[in-house]
Each structure stands twice: as C-alpha cells, then as structure tokens.
C-alpha cells in the first residue's frame, strides 16, 4: 500500500518539478511553508488585535468595522489571517502524509512525528478558538457544539452548554478570556513548533524566497477576490440555520449531530492514538547499525557533529589521553545511520596505504570494504568514457546504470561520500568521469546529504574536494526512484563530455592543501 502511495507521490511531485524545478518544488518544503504561514497568521493577527474589542456586541461590531470600513487594510488582514490559517491545515496535513508515505516517521524520527501529532491538536485549538472571537452565528454554532462535545465526558459538575442557553448568558468577560486564549494558545503552538524541529540540525523553517513570495501573493489575491466575511450576529434564541462552515477546521462539528458527541470523541481519540502509534506500528524490523567513532583516527575537529542532520553527535571532552580537546559521542537513539558524518570526516582518506579506518564509520559500510570494492570494479572497466557513479540507496538505483564502461557504488546517503573518493577514482585515469547521484534536490532522505555534498565539491564546506580535481569530469544527478530516463540522460551527457577530454587527467599534487584539510583543527560552522 505504502509503495503504491509512494509511486503516486513521486509522480505528483514530478509534475510539480516541471514548472517549479526541484529546488523550489513546494512538496519538498511543506514543513517550512507551514512555518511561514504561521508567521503570516501572526502578523495579520497583530493587526486585527489592535482593532478588536472584547464584548458581546463590541467583538462582532469591531470585526465588521475591520471588514467593511477598512476593507483595504483590516479586511485584507482578516482574510489573510483566515486563509493562511486554512493553509496551515492543508500544508501541515500534507507534510504529515508525505512523511508517512516516504517512511520518515520511525526510529530516530519518532520524536518529530509524535511532537507533530501534538501540533495538529494545537493548530486546531487555535483555529477553533479564533472562530469563536467573531461571535457571529458560526461562532455560536461552534461554541455550543464544543460545549456539547465536552459535556459528553463527565468532567464538569454542570453541563458547559448551560453557559450558552439564552442571550445574556454570555458576557463581556468571556471575550476577554477568549482573546487571552487566542494569544496564549498560538504561543504554545510556537513553542511546540520549536520543540518539533529542535532535534534537527539546520531545520528548514523558512521556505525558499520565491516560494514565500508566491504564497503571499496567492493569499493576497484570494483575500481581494473572496474576502473573509462574518455571518449575522450571534443570537442564542435562534438556531444557526445555514452555515458557511470552514471545513478545514470545523469538519467534525456536523458529525456531532449526524452521529453523536461520543462517536466524535471515539473518532478523534482513535485517530490521535493511531497517529501516536504510527512510529511503532509501521517500523521496519531491522535497523542498520549506527555510526561508530574510532578515536585513534579522530582529531576532534567536530565536522561530523556539524554535519549530522539529526544532532546525533555531540562533542565531549577527550577521554583517551590524546592531545586533542574533544571527541565525538554518537547518541544511538538519534543516529540515522546515513553516513553523512563519514563524508565529513577528514580521516576518510582512501589514499592511505595503511589500513583505512576513518575517525567515524558505519559498521555496515566500512570505508576499507568500499575502497576494496571500488578497486575491484574499476580494474575491469573499459571503453572510451569510463564513469564511476556514486549513488544513494534512497534515490534512483545507480546499479541499473552499470555496464562495461560504468561502475556504480550506492551509499546509504550521498552525503556519506568523502570528496577524497572522487579524487581517488580519477587518479591515474582509472575512470574518465564521476557521476554523483542522490535523491531529488530538496528531498534528501536525510535532509542535508545533497546540500553538504554540493558544498564540499564546490569547495565551500570542509572537507573540500581538492583543487587538483577537474570539475568538468564530475556531473551531479539528483533523481528519484522513478527517474530512470533522467539518470541515463545525465550519464550520457557526462560520458559524451569526458569522451572529448584528453585521456590523461592532469592532477597536480598539492600536498600542502591535503595537509591543510586533514590537519585543519578549525571548528566548522
């Protein structure tokens, strides 16, 4: 079932890749867009707050004045506030669904998932609370409905719904309470959003600028075309007859009357419990071994800690008596076994003639074994444009590209590739080109693998690809499982290009640079 959904999602995302490009595809930035929409809600909410009056009549009238007397400012702000809040529900639920479909919810990700479930409750509480503030017929409907819903549980000595029987039951102080809640609950939501992303290193909490601008323009246009309006003033002596319900937030309310409040509790409680259990219900049986530190080869430079996408590595005071200040310690509960730390370690140096052990390694994918495998496959490559493809287990299966002139090695994440390995395979013209492949850009399974790889190879993040390596012999290919055509096309382009280049690869030794990189004790950013 999940495989089927995964295929569907990949197709859908592919359709968006055409106009947006991979880097701007909104599907890859749903969490960040949700954050951004939250800020739009905050800014527009602050404006509305300036004009909002607390009182049975004043509340309704102040919102009416905002909507009609200053439609160009207050009205637009109100609409932005509403539509951005609705947008939060859409992007949040899609973000959840996407994380589920792509299997990003179990093991070390359980905390993000479970804290996400709390966010759903908080988002809904904020939204429903907001609709009460207008005190129109819709507010009346949901106020009474909420009270009737909670009354199903034997929590209160008197039914809550008795507070909404006749006009006059609701007083001005009630609106002071509501507006206080409408500041407090969003603050709690923000706190939980922070907690939700706390475990992630470099969490993407801002979408790319162009997506942000596009989203704001879309919301502004919608606000002008279809401004948010109130229903008639609440009147407890009248039934709220035909209601223009906001289905994003209020869809469960009709069920209170179609089914019963108890049934809605069972539904909502059941969904919540199921969601909370997802990380354990659907986790894979086995988990790959987590990263292991080899202090003999570690100078405590902290690059592994800086590059770890899930903050699983913490630098502690050195314990082994060697003259370095720090040593990395891996938290096995947080480690994703992605190997990005291995790619970050300056000791991941295949040129060593002695035993190859890096400062940090994945026990299932030791560098010495990988190097031996590479040596074996390169020895039998032949043809005019021989290429070594480094790929990633989560993306397009690079083994499918193998041929007599093409060798492939798939790593848990392309971020595990130490740049020195590119240098290593190009040395002595053992291959003519290198293709570096991984997940679709913006959709790295381990969040930062593509970003760090691009920066390392562009010599902007340590460990740098050495200057002596000619960049025209390297091609990137960010391709998903289904992107066979694209991967083959990129490989074709690379092979055609390197076929034009002289066979001899000029690689001037720069030993100083090598020393600088591997011995660099500067703390990384």
């Amino acid at each position: 079932m999940r495989k089927y959904l995964q295929n569907l999602l990949l197709r859908l995302e592919n359709a968006f890749n055409a106009p947006f490009g991979q880097a701007l595809n909104p599907w890859y930035h749903l969490g960040a867009i949700t954050f951004y929409l939250f800020w739009i809600v905050v800014v527009s909410g602050v404006y509305l707050y300036i004009f909002y009056r607390t009182g049975v009549d004043e509340a309704y009238q102040s919102v009416e004045r905002l909507t009609h007397d200053q439609w160009y400012a207050g009205g637009v702000m109100r609409s932005l506030h509403r539509y951005a809040s609705d947008g939060i529900v859409v992007t949040m639920l899609l973000h959840m669904l996407r994380n589920f479909i792509t299997g990003r919810f179990h093991s070390f990700r359980w905390f993000s998932w479970v804290s996400g479930v709390f966010l759903i409750w908080l988002v809904y509480t904020c939204g429903i609370n907001g609709y009460w503030m207008v005190w129109d017929r819709l507010a009346q409907f949901i106020a009474v409905g909420t009270a009737e819903w909670f009354d199903w549980m034997p929590l209160f000595s008197q039914p809550l719904a008795r507070n909404f029987l006749v006009q006059g039951d609701v007083n001005d102080r009630f609106f002071a309470l509501l507006s206080f809640a409408h500041i407090t609950i969003p603050l709690v939501l923000l706190l939980f959003m922070w907690i939700h992303t706390k475990r992630m290193n470099h969490a993407e909490t801002n979408p790319p600028l162009r997506l942000a601008v596009g989203t704001l323009l879309m919301l502004l246009a919608l606000s002008l075309v279809k401004p948010a309006l109130s229903h008639a003033h609440a009147d407890l002596a009248l039934l709220p007859d035909v209601i223009r319900l906001d289905w994003f937030y209020l869809a469960p309310y009709p069920l209170l009357y179609i089914w019963s409040p108890g049934a809605v509790w069972v539904l909502v409680g059941g969904i919540t419990a199921l969601l909370l259990l997802v990380p354990w219900l659907f986790r894979p049986r086995t988990r790959p071994a987590v990263a292991e530190v080899h202090l003999d080869n570690c100078n405590g430079c902290a690059r592994c800690a800086a590059d770890c996408p899930y903050s699983a590595i913490v630098m502690h005071p050195r314990q082994d008596g060697r003259p370095h200040q720090l040593q990395p310690v891996v938290d096995p509960d947080l480690c994703a076994s992605c190997g990005i730390c291995v790619g970050a370690c300056p000791s991941s140096m295949p040129f060593r003639s002695n035993e190859l052990v890096s400062g940090i390694e994945l026990p299932d994918q030791e560098l010495a074994t990988l190097r031996a495998g590479i040596d074996r496959t390169l020895a039998v490559l032949h043809g005019d444009a021989r290429v070594m493809v480094f790929g990633c287990d989560c993306a397009y299966d690079v083994h499918a590209l193998q041929s007599e002139g093409v060798a492939a090695l798939s790593l848990p994440c392309i971020g595990m590739l130490p740049p020195a390995f590119i240098d290593y395979v190009l040395r002595d013209a053992r291959v003519d080109g290198v293709m570096v492949a991984g997940c679709r850009e913006g959709d790295c399974q381990y969040r930062l693998g593509i970003r760090w790889t691009e920066l390392r190879l562009a010599r902007q993040r340590v460990p740098h690809l050495r200057q002596r390596v000619p960049l025209q012999r390297i091609e990137f290919c960010w391709a998903g499982i289904q992107d066979d055509e694209r991967a083959r096309a990129e490989l074709g382009t690379l092979r055609a290009r390197v076929a034009q280049l002289p066979r001899e690869i000029i690689m001037e030794e720069d030993s100083r640079e090598h020393e600088r990189q591997s011995g660099d004790k500067n703390q990384p950013d």
Binding site: A18, F20, D86, V90, K226, L239, D246, P254
Partner: protein, 170 residues
Amino acid sequence: MSQPLKYLGQGLAYALFAVVLGYFSTSPEYAHLPADSALLKLSFNHAAQRKKPCHERTDEEMAKLAKNMRIRKDCPRERSDVVVELEMDGKQLYHVVLHPPGLSHDGAASIYRRLPVPAGPHRFVARLKDMEGGDFSFVHEENITLGAGKVMVIDFKADVPGAPGFMFKS
C-alpha cells in the same frame, strides 16, 4: 519546459491552492437542522429533596455514637432522583430519571438535552418529581407557537419566589 510555460505552470499550482482554500473555507454550506424545525433545550440544575427527612436522635442512638459525633439532629445526605417528563401535543417527547451526583448522592442533578421539533403551534406539558413516592410535584402546561429556527429553553428553578417550577423561554 520553456520559461513562460514554467511561470504558467506555477501560476496554475498557486491558483489550485487558492481555489481549494477559497472554496472549502465556506463551502459546501451546512444546514444544521431542516428549515422548518425548531429546537427545545431542556436544561436545569436542581437539588432534589432528601430521601429521608431529618430526625432527632434518641438518647439510645446518641450513646452509640463516638463522643465527638453526638449531634442531635440527623440529616441523611442522600437525595432523591429527579424524574422529568416532557409532553408535546399529548405525546411523550422525553422522559428521564436523573440520579443525584456525588459520592454521597447528595449533589444537584443537571441536565442539558437538545430536542429538535417541527416548528408551529404546540401544547407542551413539563412535569418534575424530586422526592420519594407521590406524584409529580411540578407541572407546567403552555401553548406555544414555535417559529422556524427558534430555540426554546425549558428551564426549572425551585427557588423562584412566588413562581417556582418550569420556565419556557422562547
């Protein structure tokens, strides 16, 4: 894909998002109850009579109690059930027995009950009994024309001076 086509594609994606937000934020409309209905809300909070009346303890009974518990007047805390009946146009609409809450069953019984009814003229009879045995101690009858979409609250207060009992508020 050419640049103008890309912009067109992006515009379409944003437009789709806007249409989804714009439509489902108010549509489809929801009709809470059929147009020709009214709603009765039967709701009150009432402490029933005590099950047994207070009585003076005899000297014999007093002697059996610990010294610090010897109070002459003995008032058992437990209250009676509250029985409520509502009749509309001669037919029973609702009947309920409310047990007094609390560990000693001495609390005030509460009720909140929605009863959708057709709009129009009706004869309502409400009855309430709050003591052991005997007949309904409070009865209220009234002819009321309920407009469509109106809410009528049926409240009960035993402590309104001069007119204790049911109140029909429409």
